[in-house]
Subunit: 330 residues, 2 copies
């Protein structure tokens, strides 16, 4: 499909340029060359390091065409990448999208995917600077690469947590997977995307991450893409520490005006909230621009990750990713 591909690349370049004015106020000066050459060229600034992250969005694994509007797929795809940049305390600069599309996919669907993605790009003041397109023999596949910058030595890694640090999460947890469970339970019901923004149009915590990073509050940070239990374990393993979480401290989200089950908040994932640790004595505000920052427990010596229940008993917090629910395994 050489000619259609050329046309599609031109179309994307046009869409990307049309979206650029807003970005221009931000980081676009860094992009020296984008769509239309072998590589994109990004200007580095002295004193900065480059952050790079890639994330897959596969039809049937990360979204379903019958559930997710195309603009939600584009929105979620870029948000995944931006959330990784946020989790390092960085500033995003540019995105690259590799797309494999079935031959029969309507052009309108592709346009709406880009509309959703470019809306998020504009809000984050970044440029869609390149990518690749191929015909998929099967479903839709998108791979997003996001490039960001961070001051030298200031990237917030997962490795810095120490015993005694307080553990915080941003926002409230569990709504996206609670909705997903409902979608699996009621496969024919149409869930209006606009009514469930936490799942369909999530927001990467870029601004909050910059606020925390600027104050050098977090000793370690990551996003909760695979669920608190799974991601806290990863953070603890990377830092060679353990943790104790208080069950009744975990901020549980609401869905349709009802609090979701605790297990969704503990194991949910697909959240794009931040999990971070803060050394003793540092003050963390309870709310930042409307987003609650909740103390849920403390880092401990050793490797155990425990959950303190309301009845006083303590059990191990077993890691369970959200894919577990996606397959109806519980």
């Amino acid at each position: 499909m050489p000619i259609p591909e050329n046309h599609l690349v031109e179309r994307i370049a046009r869409l990307s340029r049309a979206a650029a004015p807003a970005a221009r106020r931000g980081q676009i000066a860094r992009i020296v060359e984008s769509i239309g050459d072998d590589c994109a060229v990004v200007a580095a600034s002295p004193g900065e390091e480059t952050l790079i992250t890639t994330d897959l969005c596969l039809e049937g694994t990360h979204f379903r065409r019958e559930w997710h509007p195309a603009d939600s797929v584009g929105h979620r795809c870029l948000t995944r990448g931006l959330s990784d940049i946020a989790a390092m305390g960085g500033v995003p600069v540019a995105a690259f999208l590799s797309l494999a599309l079935p031959a029969k996919l309507p052009q309108r669907w592709v346009d709406q995917l880009f509309a959703g993605l470019l809306h998020v790009a504009r809000a984050a003041r970044i440029t869609l600077a390149g990518g690749d397109i191929a015909q998929s023999p099967t479903g839709i596949m998108a791979d997003i690469t996001v490039i960001g910058t961070v001051e030298v030595g200031r990237a917030i890694r997962r490795t810095g947590a120490q015993a005694g640090d307080a553990i915080y999460v941003s926002g409230e947890l569990g709504a996206p997977v609670a909705l997903l469970e409902q979608m699996y339970a009621l496969p024919t019901r149409k869930f209006r995307a606009a009514s469930y923004p936490a799942h369909f149009y999530p927001k990467a915590q870029l601004e909050l991450a910059r606020f925390l990073a600027a104050r050098q509050l977090p000793s370690a940070m990551m996003d909760i893409s695979d669920g608190l239990s799974m991601d806290l374990r990863r953070l603890c393993q990377a830092s060679h520490v353990g943790a104790t979480i208080q069950e009744n401290a975990v901020p549980v989200a609401s869905l349709n005006r009802h609090e979701v089950e605790l297990r969704h908040a503990l194991h949910g994932g697909d959240e794009y909230q931040l999990l971070f640790t803060v050394p003793p004595g540092r003050r963390v505000p309870a709310v930042h621009k409307g987003t609650p920052l909740t103390l849920i427990g403390y880092i401990t010596d050793g490797a155990e990750i425990s959950l303190e229940h309301e009845n006083g008993y303590t059990t191990e917090l077993e890691p369970e990713g959200w894919e577990h629910f996606a397959k109806g395994g519980r």
Copy 2:
């Protein structure tokens, strides 16, 4: 699949570290943080710009499991990205691999894919610094992102060709697609991968590109990934020029000791050779470290891309990508 993914990421991190010693002599000092955090961190050097390229490799579109050994898939995948860095005159630094794998794919296949990819990474002295893994509901999908560097303002773009510039190609053209045509014609025959390195184990022209870039010879450069006729047109469009190519000057490759057909050399693609233009009066060696550099024509005013035949007639060189052949369309 949270736990298997964790295991696979650890396995890749281990394979990548094992491959690192050779890379360490090269660019590894730039990689501050790689697999195991939200993002990779790459240190920027003053006076350099960052190059970024992404390329898809899809089962059924870019390779077939019954034709391509897993190590060839990994080899070809990374070579595609490296070739884009070469085409800009850059030095590759790190690669990121997003992989969607069917649940039933044997671990051995995945290991061999990584063996092929890491072999190429070692040779290019780069690090596999991150990526993503997901379960594919259908076939194998790999998306490679390669990061490189180039001195500020020295990236060789497609836009610099001017009327009067000489047009060169590296190597000999047409063998990969001539083989592909045989594979389509004889679908049950087993083609030994090691006997056809131009297709199964192609080499990105990184060293040649650095040689040319260091001498500031090319006014424009790109790799011939979609065939000379298609890619020359892209270069000419980007530079707002035309071109005249001499049919009998095009270096035609051999396959099984027979010269392939001219149409394969003109429209072949899947080549990873360099197409570049050189201003009048600059001397280009006929051979660089065993790779012929062949003058095939000249850049002209206007927009026409012409082919001068041996009989003296001139026709338009129509762009025909190699996918055209892949579908047996001719």
